[in-house]
Symmetry: C2
Subunit: 212 residues, 2 copies
């Protein structure tokens, strides 16, 4: 098996998918599971994941996403949708679930629940949404890496109208907001202008500072 | 080699580190490299990574981070610091670097540069910072997963005063803002209340929606 960094070097933001190829169910399942297992702040998992294979829905999303062909040519489209607020109900749902799963209740955890309820109330809706959106990006990172291990191509995309996507998927009624989308599938090497170009990253020196 | 999801199941937010153990240089290097290789929106890499082993600096950071012992007991402390704005200079730096590395200039890419310069100018400093911070969380996801593959423990932390950390590391002069920190090291199983508790995640049904 190849190493993580070999997989990261292999992957790239695929520009052209082979529309005839489908990601096998077991690979898709492992990618989704990586997102579900990804850690989040206070364990809240303040986002949900939509897995769209439906052609009509993808065609609609493409019209509000700069007409990017990957959205309809890929095998499955992942949509990361963050909580529009971190409400007391949502905090309590996760803290209660934690007590259920672990079969215990402890004072430290219950004190932390109260502290967190105070923090999110003070912070307000917009800052809570921003905090939730950041957590969704941990999930995005996990999905990207999981896809690379499955030898599945992926294209992280912010180039879409989030409000229009929210409308198409009826996210508002679920108190969610779309933050980033990820086509998954198989590259069509022939038509992809990026596939043979070098990956560009800043040098270690200009990206990393060691304080010893 | 174990699979990604086995590694994600193994990892947890370590509460107690063995202060006598150090992450070997080659493992640390691979974790850092995963962050550097992680993808970001438009390839901007709009953040930097600080790797702090210095004891005095870590002691100072601990005082502005709820006195969390992991900060001083861990082996190395990673600090993800996002660009405080996405300025034209920074956009041009990355687009110029891309042209240098690939040894070519093309019209599509240059048009995209102009489009992106327009977007970040219209969006303004605060929204640009928020966008940069989200990208740092992709890097955080990569670091977490890379650490798990190296069998290195890690604790993602947002519980610190970002402005105080910026001051300690003089980030303002570099036009950076700290967004999340990650102690790396080895768990001290004896003193860790979390190590034997079950991992809690919402069920697949309440986290994933398939649109077929």
């Amino acid at each position: 098996m190849t190493t993580l960094n070999e997989r990261l070097a292999w992957r790239y933001a695929t520009k052209k998918y082979d529309a005839t190829k489908t990601v096998p169910a077991e690979k898709l399942e492992r990618i989704i599971e990586a997102v579900r297992l990804a850690p989040t702040s206070s364990g809240l998992q303040p986002f949900e994941l939509f897995v769209v294979s439906n052609a009509d829905v993808r065609a609609k999303i493409r019209t509000v996403a700069w007409d990017q062909a990957q959205i309809t040519d890929c095998s499955h489209l992942l949509i990361f949708a963050a909580w529009d607020d971190i409400t007391p109900d949502r905090v309590n749902m996760m803290f209660d679930l934690t007590n259920d799963v672990r079969g215990l209740k402890n004072e430290g955890w219950e004190n932390y629940r109260q502290q967190l309820l105070g923090i999110v109330a003070a912070r307000g809706t917009e800052a809570n949404y921003q905090a939730a959106a950041r957590q969704a990006y941990i999930g995005l990172g996990a999905a990207l890496i999981a896809a690379a291990f499955e030898e599945v191509d992926a294209t992280p995309m912010e180039g879409f109208d989030p409000e229009a996507v929210d409308e198409i998927l009826d996210l508002k009624s679920k108190n969610l907001r779309s933050v980033v989308i990820l086509p998954l599938g198989y590259r069509a090497t022939e038509g992809d202008w990026l596939v043979n170009l070098k990956k560009v990253r800043r040098s270690r020196d200009s990206f990393i500072t060691e304080i010893k």
